[in-house]
Every structure is written in C-alpha cells, then in structure tokens.
C-alpha cells in the first residue's frame, strides 16, 4: 500500500469517527442546529416538514399527544367530541379479523391541499415548507375548507376565545386546524405531540424534513412500508402511516 493511500485511509477513519460523534449526539440537538430559522429568515421550499406515524407503537387509550396539543395551543383538554381538538385519537377495528389499531389523526398537510384550492379569500394557504395553515386575518369563516377536506381535519370556532395562548392566536368565527406547531418548528423544536409521545416512551410520531434524503424520517420511509391516507385522491399528504 502506498504512503498516499495510507494517509487517505487514516483521514477517512478519523473523519468517520468525528461524523459518527455528531450522529450519536441527541437527535433533538441535531435538529436544532440544522433547522432553527434565523431571525428574519423566511420558511424555505427546500424543506418539507412531515411526519411518519408508526401505528404498531401507538397504545390504545394513550392520549399524550392530544393533551400536549391542547396544552401547547391553549385550551382545556377536550371532554366532549365537540370540544376543540386539532389532533384526536382514532381506534380502528377490522371487522373480518378483529385486528385493532390506534392512531393519532390530524391535518395531513397535503402537498396539493383541497382546503387551499377552495378558499375564496386565500386565507387557507400552504407555507413554503409544506405546512398548511389558516391565515385568520383573512378567514371569513365560510367553512368551505371544512367541506373540502377529506380528512375532516378542520373545525370552526363557534364560541368567543377568552384565554388565548400568546403563541397561538385563535378567534371566534374563523376555521382552525393543526399547525404542525409552526411556532415551535420555527424555533427549531419538534411539534408538541411528537415531543410528548417520545416523553411517554412511545416514539410513535417521527417528525422531520421529507426533502432531506438523510433525515431520520426519509431514511425510515425508505426502509419500511408506509401508506398515506386516501392516497387515491392524489393529495400527497405530508403525514404517512406505518402498520395500517
């Protein structure tokens, strides 16, 4: 082996050890460094935020993601089905086999969102990084988007909101839905449901950049079979499910 080759080998070995150290560091830290936006920086279309939900890991009766959502976005935990819920737990049962599945369900943040297509005031919009939102400054509360959404992810605020959270403005007469915790994502944090699920030790929801081939979520989507809900509609949801 020539001297040059040896040096090259040493260099590669050292570099891979150094890179390995970075990868082994907690995932949250890596995410922070990679994606926290600088002040004044706009959301970029080079990123597409998405989630992969592993229904095999999701526990029947566990409600951590739903509670975390209400706590983060500022309303009391839902007691009746008509209370505010941007994310809800759905229990499925296959009639022929009796197989039961539990999964969290929320706005699917479609690449081709029908709610955006139908909005008469352009209040419903998709941010450059793929997060689908309602601009409540423009929403006139017509609820056309609620009718257009095949996932029934949106809801209307009927009552006056009295105790808002500073990070999440909500108002009577407007439509709302999961924002993928856009205020947290912009700070480089994970959405509240993802964090709560991991904290409860379940790790059902994996959040990340679908456009980055090296992100955890892209790697996992490449290696396991996953499905989008109602993929036949061609909306390309940002949320995929494993084990459905």
């Amino acid at each position: 082996m020539s001297k040059v080759d040896l040096n090259r080998r040493n260099f590669l070995a050292k570099t891979s050890v150094a890179l390995g150290g970075l990868v082994i560091a907690p995932g949250l830290m890596l995410f922070d460094f990679a994606h926290a936006k600088q002040p004044g920086e706009a959301a970029s279309s080079s990123v597409r935020w998405g989630m992969l939900i592993d229904t095999n890991q999701c526990h029947d009766g566990c409600n951590e993601c739903v509670s975390a959502c209400s706590k983060e976005n500022g309303w009391p935990e839902a007691k009746s089905p008509t209370d505010v819920q941007w994310i809800r737990k759905v229990e499925l049962r296959q009639i022929s086999t009796g197989r039961q599945t539990s999964l969290p369900m929320m706005c699917q943040h479609c690449a081709q969102p029908p709610c955006v297509d139908v909005c008469p005031t352009a209040a419903s919009f998709k941010r450059a990084d793929g997060i689908v939102l309602v601009d409540k400054h423009r929403c006139i509360g017509c609820r056309y988007c609620m009718m257009a959404c095949p996932y029934k992810a949106r809801s209307f605020v009927h009552e006056p909101v009295l105790d808002h959270d500073s990070d999440m403005p909500r108002g009577q007469g407007t439509v709302e839905s999961c924002t993928m915790c856009v205020h947290r994502v912009d700070r480089g944090q994970q959405p509240a449901c993802v964090e709560a699920c991991a904290k409860a030790g379940h790790r059902v929801i994996l959040f990340g950049d679908l456009n980055d081939p090296n992100s955890d979520i892209s790697t996992r989507i490449r290696s396991v079979a996953s499905t989008q809900l109602r993929a036949d509609l061609g909306l390309d949801p940002g949320i995929s499910f494993v084990g459905l």
């Binding site: 004044g40 706009a42 959301a43 601009d135 400054h137 105790d163 959270d165 500073s166 108002g171």
Partner: protein
C-alpha cells in the same frame, strides 16, 4: 319668550363652563396610561402613535404567510413592554396601554379578538386574573 331666552342662556353657560373646564385641565385630556415596563420604544413615540398599526399589519403577513419571525416590530413586542405591571395585560381598564388610548380615540381594537393581550411569562408582581 322670556323662558326660552333663559333656557338658551343656561345652555350657553353650561357649554361655556364645559369648555372652560376642558381648557383648565387641558394637559389631562390625554389618556392616562399605564405604560408597563416602558423603556426605549422601537421607534420614536410620536411616530409610533401615528404608525404602529401599519408596522404591525405589515409584520403580521410576513410572519403568518412567509414564516419570518424575530422582526423589530411585532405585536408580541408591544405587549412585552406595555402590558401593565398590575394585571400583565394591555387591556382591562382605560389605564391599560392599548385599551386606554383606543378608548380615547374611539377606535375598536380587533387584535385581541384572536391574540393574547398578556405577556406569556407574567412578572411576579402582576395578577393574571383579568380575562383576555
């Protein structure tokens, strides 16, 4: 006729008194505001009095639609400095910063239909009991 003349005189005197009273306390006609923490504003106060709504309305679109955060101008910034040290809010009474001035100018504030009027983290002295 005499009665009418007296009535007119009384009304005129009342009006005169009112305006005299107003003149007498001229300086106090402006709303008396609790400026909260106060300190150095992002722009000159005179400019802010006339233009704060333009700065905020521009920023709201930048933030909501393009995801640009951390600007010098923001509603959260207004609240952070001007929420009352008593109830941690810019609303609540005609002494509170936003409500006081808007009541004086007779202009409805729509911001707080959706936005919180309080600082996220209240200073220890403030009571957070007041709604909105």
């Amino acid at each position: 006729m005499k009665l009418l003349r007296t009535t007119v005189l009384v009304i005129a005197m009342c009006l005169a008194n009112l305006s005299l009273a107003d003149l007498a306390v001229g300086g106090q006609l402006q709303p008396k505001l609790d400026i909260g923490k106060g300190g150095q504003c992002v722009e000159d106060p005179k400019f802010m009095r006339l233009n704060h709504m333009r700065l905020i309305i521009h920023q709201r679109d930048e933030t909501v639609r393009r995801g640009i955060r951390g600007s010098k101008y923001s509603l959260a910034g207004c609240i952070d400095c001007h929420a009352s040290t008593k109830n941690n809010s810019v609303l609540g009474s005609n002494e509170n910063f936003c409500q006081g001035c808007h009541a004086y100018a007779a202009i409805r504030i729509d911001c707080f239909e959706c936005h919180s009027s309080k600082r996220k983290i209240a200073p220890a002295s403030a009571s957070t009991e007041v709604s909105k």
